[in-house]
């Protein structure tokens, strides 16, 4: 721990708390989940970085979107994301959420996930190795430090646009808006 850490802890203890205890939602959204069990068990041990899986989204602040997102999963992802308390961070894992990856011409997978929910960082590759998860976590620390992991703020700000995109793909959502949407 360098000298600055202590100052940071005194200045913004809550932020440092969020940063070093990232609790990930346990949600297997795609095939990227295959590298998550090795990462959280003895050999790679993500707990060194403060990353732990949690059972419910209500207690989580990190959402790892592991792999391709089909239209049906998108509904579950939005619901899970909206249930998480703020501040919350999302990381897209693998090439598929970025731009569709190798399913670029599939009729049932989402091509750009950041058009439906805000994403703070991406891990490219198919499959990214466990080390890549840890690199992403340390990058996320830097972003949190600089207040640049602001996905949840962008979600508030552009909620109307996100909601419009979500409704377009899912043909109407069966739950009320999370934030008030002004009539335009």
């Amino acid at each position: 721990m360098d000298r600055n850490q202590l100052v940071k802890w005194l200045k913004a203890p809550a932020k440092m708390g969020h940063k070093y205890s990232l609790h990930a939602v346990y949600f297997c959204t795609g095939c990227g989940i295959i590298e998550v069990p090795p990462s959280i068990t003895a050999r790679w041990d993500a707990e060194r970085f403060g990353v732990l899986p949690t059972a419910t989204p209500r207690q989580a602040n990190l959402f790892l979107i592991t792999g391709y997102v089909s239209v049906k999963t998108l509904r579950a992802i939005i619901r899970t994301y909206e249930q998480m308390p703020e501040p919350k961070y999302t990381v897209g894992f693998g090439s598929c959420p970025i731009n569709g990856g190798m399913y670029w011409d599939s009729y049932n997978t989402i091509k750009h996930l950041d058009r439906y929910i805000p994403i703070d960082g991406w891990i490219a590759g198919c499959m990214p190795r466990p080390e890549a998860i840890f690199v992403a976590v340390t990058h996320l620390w830097t972003l949190i430090d600089k207040d640049m992991a602001d996905g949840y703020k962008r979600y508030r700000k552009h909620y109307a646009a996100y909601r419009a995109n979500q409704e377009k793909v899912l043909r109407g959502l069966d739950w009320p808006p999370l934030f008030p949407v002004e009539e335009q």
Partner: protein, 365 residues
């Protein structure tokens, strides 16, 4: 008592994979179960109709992330049988060793999921660590940890690297040396027996009329294994046994998995002893201009979850005309699971599902 509808999954700690079941419950008992797949549907078979024969190899392995290798084998054998390509003897042996190694890795993953589900964290951590050792071998052999794309029409991509056999044997010995520990900690544990015996019971007749294969069927005493009844690769070159159990419940299925892993490791040792020298690859035509003669074929192989089939049609073009995978989780997860859940308690849903080894991406494709 009042009936309630309960949505189990996809975001649920008791659910491994992106899958959901709609349960009708009365108190704690499941009255009716409706499997609700489709969260991972990518339309693989449609995508494969738009890619050339060789470009489909990166596609097929992604159908099942837990054990991609049997998918590669099914597609490669189907292409070989349509195009009339022979596979050298050494490549057959390498394929068998590679597939058995994949089976061990896949079963260890299943063991992780199962023991984690029951709360046996120690066994779960061991299983995941040992699977990682297997993945290290795959990485050395193929360059990839998860997706290998190693089996190719006409053989395998490359021969074993220098000293690989020695490291393979060492790793398998170090995993096999832990079997007594696994037994003491998990398999012979009274708590495991109490949680699994008599749970999710299916009889032999039910399993057969619902298309069960793999450990779902072998746990009811039927020694049905495609490696025996229609041998492919080098499975008919060495002697081996099909482990079975009689009871047909979750306990027997997990024990069948354990015995199968041990049998696979022994089989690898026997195959290594018998392995001939020679080429591992027969040349195929230029893959960019490759056209495969008109025809259709059905091939099958034994994956770690059961029988895997592939129906492949070619219209003489440079792309497949129709691809359809018969994946083992399909009847297990959609027909048998719905039957096996009835009358069980909610806390055993994940237990039964993992003991049947339902892998969601393979159902949805």
């Amino acid at each position: 008592m009042r009936e309630l509808e309960l949505y189990f999954g996809p975001q649920h700690l008791g659910m491994v994979g992106n899958f959901s079941i709609t349960l009708k419950v009365e108190g704690d008992r499941v009255v009716k179960a409706d499997a609700n797949p489709g969260y991972l549907h990518r339309g693989f078979e449609k995508l494969m109709e738009q890619r050339s024969w060789i470009k489909n190899f990166p596609m097929v392995c992604r159908i099942n992330v837990v054990e991609p290798d049997s998918m590669e084998l099914a597609y490669a054998t189907a292409v070989e049988s349509l195009a009339g390509i022979e596979v050298p003897e050494r490549a057959q042996f390498i394929r068998s060793i590679y597939l058995e190694l994949a089976r061990v890795g896949s079963h260890l993953f299943g063991l992780w999921a199962y023991s984690n589900m029951l709360g046996f964290d120690t066994a779960a951590q061991w299983a995941m660590y040992h699977r990682d050792l297997v993945l290290d071998l795959f990485e050395e052999l193929t360059g990839g940890r998860v997706y290998h794309i190693y089996i190719w029409p006409g053989g395998v991509r490359r021969d074993f690297p220098e000293g690989f056999e020695k490291r393979l044997v060492e790793t398998l010995h170090s995993i096999g040396g832990c079997v007594p520990d696994y037994d003491a900690c998990f398999f012979d544990n009274r708590l495991f027996y109490d949680r699994a015996a008599g749970i999710g019971k299916i009889t032999r007749e039910e399993a057969m009329e619902m298309g069960g294969t793999g450990q779902a069927l072998r746990a009811t005493g039927v020694p049905y294994d495609v490696r025996k009844i229609e041998p492919y690769a080098a499975y008919d070159k060495v002697p081996w046994e099909v482990p079975t159990r009689e009871d047909g419940d979750a306990f027997s299925r997990i024990w069948v998995v354990r015995d199968e892993m041990i049998e696979s490791v022994h089989m690898i040792f026997k195959l290594l002893d018998e392995m001939p020298k020679g080429d591992v690859y027969n040349r195929i035509p230029n893959p960019f201009k490759w056209r495969i003669p008109e025809g259709e074929t059905y091939v099958r192989c034994e994956s770690s979850r059961g029988e895997l089939g592939l129906y492949l049609v070619s219209d003489g073009g440079d792309k497949p005309y129709r691809v359809h995978f018969r994946t083992p989780s399909y009847p297990h997860g959609l027909t048998i699971l719905e039957k096996a859940l009835v009358g069980e308690s909610i806390s055993d849903v994940g237990n039964i599902m993992i003991s049947l080894y339902v892998v969601a991406p393979e159902i949805d494709r």
